[in-house]
């Protein structure tokens, strides 16, 4: 069951991302959306996603029979309840919230309705340089249905939120054990903010999904005989994150550095060079499309276009304090629930650490932690340089930025104490129950 969740979430995640890239290229080259373009994109994306998933995860795809118990039933109720809540919220907000109608669905309307004039979107004064993963998926859905119904962006939002939960359960189950997979999924939905941003049709949930996908594939590469393909898959995920939001570009850069550094520390220079090459090879195709988009179509970003006074802002010490307060406040209020998500995370630490409290870090685990910290620090530097009112910028965005990192953080915690490949010899999770050989 868990392997099925993993396979489905990886394949669908890749499919949506690759479809988005092909559909966007079709609109760009063909001067507007067309049925032929959307069908061609669908076919190519399905081929690529299925091929990549089969190649990378076949050694992990051992079917297992789900075991039902009282504890499983309680977690199942939590997941069903979370998805039902998400569905009700989506139905109440057919146009989503600020970023949905201000950026993503509006850009999708330009793609779908605009014909050859769709590029007028780049004349708009707000967020015109943002990448097109989400708008392309939504516009592609409309083009396929020949109907611009709000159900398409609602479905896409539901899908990405549900995929994130499925990927969390599936990847932790395969890396650790089924039981811990369920616990990690519960910890993820224990932050209501995660479901709220899903219902708001924000791009932060898809972005968080691609972050998690990259981390998962790197972790799985350590227990698979297809390491190169899984590392390249992680690179593809990072590339798709960059194609989702500008923050994804920072993530891709930090991930590359963190992965190379982590492998270097554990396995030496040659292994690091090889792994860096695999990762960059995976992200390169999407980054090339993104580079073409940024250079040939998109206007300059509002952060970079205000370059003159940027250095003054970067050296203004009073801004450090405002940002530190902003981070502290957002972390305290994080999750927006009755109980702070730090409680389920602490419970997950107890469950994940395992008997005897093994605390060991593999390359992928170190990379995951370094990337989360590095990306959060990168966001702080962006705040330092922002030309906008600093308090307003933090107030309107930091909770979403932290939410992007939330699935990755839960995953990192769930992988504490996972056995290292070199230590275990054979490739198996450290399951206290349901242990099985994986290759």
């Amino acid at each position: 069951m868990s392997q099925l969740l993993l396979l489905a979430s990886v394949a669908i995640g890749f499919f949506l991302g690759i479809f988005s890239v092909f559909f966007f290229l079709g609109v760009w080259v063909g001067g507007g959306s067309s049925t032929v373009g959307v069908l061609l994109s669908l076919g190519l994306a399905a081929l690529a996603a299925v091929h990549a998933t089969r190649l990378g995860l076949r050694s992990l795809a051992q079917p297992s029979v789900p075991r039902f118990s009282f504890r499983t039933a309680v977690f199942a109720i939590a997941f069903v309840s979370a998805l039902a809540t998400l569905l009700v919220a989506l139905l109440s907000l057919p146009h989503g919230w600020w970023d949905a109608w201000g950026i993503w669905n509006m850009h999708a309307r330009f793609l779908y309705r605009g014909g050859p004039d769709w590029t007028d979107v780049f004349l708009l004064p707000m967020y015109s340089d943002y990448p097109f993963l989400l708008p392309s998926i939504v516009a592609g859905g409309w083009a396929l249905l020949h109907n611009e119904h709000t159900v398409v962006p609602m479905f896409v939002a539901f899908l990405f939120t549900a995929l994130t939960i499925a990927l969390m359960i599936g990847s932790v189950s395969v890396r650790r054990n089924d039981w811990l997979g369920l616990a990690a999924g519960a910890a993820l939905v224990a932050a209501p903010e995660f479901l709220r941003h899903g219902a708001y049709q924000m791009a932060d949930v898809p972005l968080g999904f691609y972050f998690l996908l990259a981390f998962s594939l790197l972790q799985l590469s350590e227990i698979s005989s297809h390491r190169a393909i899984l590392v390249a898959g992680a690179g593809l995920s990072a590339g798709l994150a960059a194609w989702t939001k500008n923050e994804g570009m920072l993530f891709a850069a930090v991930l590359t550095l963190a992965w190379t550094g982590s492998v270097l520390l554990r396995d030496g220079v040659r292994a690091a060079a090889k792994n860096a090459r695999w990762l960059v090879a995976g992200m390169a195709p999407v980054l090339l499309v993104l580079a073409a988009f940024k250079i040939l179509l998109a206007p300059p970003n509002d952060m970079t276009s205000a370059g003159d006074s940027m250095w003054m802002r970067l050296s203004d010490s009073s801004r450090f304090l405002v940002i530190a307060r902003g981070y502290a406040g957002s972390l305290l209020a994080f999750g927006n629930g009755v109980v702070h998500p730090v409680v389920p995370v602490a419970a997950l630490v107890v469950l994940a650490a395992g008997r005897g409290g093994r605390w060991q870090l593999s390359s992928a685990q170190l990379c995951t932690l370094l990337t989360i910290v590095g990306t959060a620090l990168g966001y702080a530097i962006v705040y330092l340089a922002t030309p906008h009112d600093l308090v307003w910028h933090i107030y309107t965005s930091l909770d979403r930025l932290l939410m992007q990192l939330w699935p990755g953080l839960v995953f990192a915690v769930a992988c504490i104490g996972a056995p290292l490949r070199r230590d275990t010899g054979i490739l198996q999770p450290d399951a206290t129950r349901g242990a099985r050989r994986l290759s």
Partner: protein, 156 residues
Amino acid sequence: LTASSAFEKWLRRVATALLAGVALLNVGYMRKLIVRLGPPSDHPISRYEEDIRPVRAALPDRGRVAYLSDTLAVLSAPIETRADYAWAQYALAPLALIPGGDGAMALGQFRIDTLVESVGPEWVRLKDFGRTRSGWTRESFVGASAPRVVIFRKAQ
């Protein structure tokens, strides 16, 4: 069982109960918040899109028109006027609304009536659609105040 392994087992049970409990509690809390949102047909943007339909018919389908508002600097404007711009742009896409831009026509959205009169002499009022039924408000999503929508043409 040794004392430490019994304690560990107990600890894991507590952690499991805590995790499942918090997940259920927080999801339930989210559910309570959502019930207040109301049915989809009540969504303010759905109503705004209905109201803006005659405005859309009076403007070109695509291309560019100028956008006039109480304040033209869209990004530094108060949140209500920025939302007014974003709602109009969302409803009228792929027609591009260029704040303060030049062109033969302009769409104006105003929160303060007297500011409609203060639009420069280069613009002639073509049609006044009055206030829409809904608009962005900071306090609650179902808004009280809404923008007044006016179409202008360039003076000869």
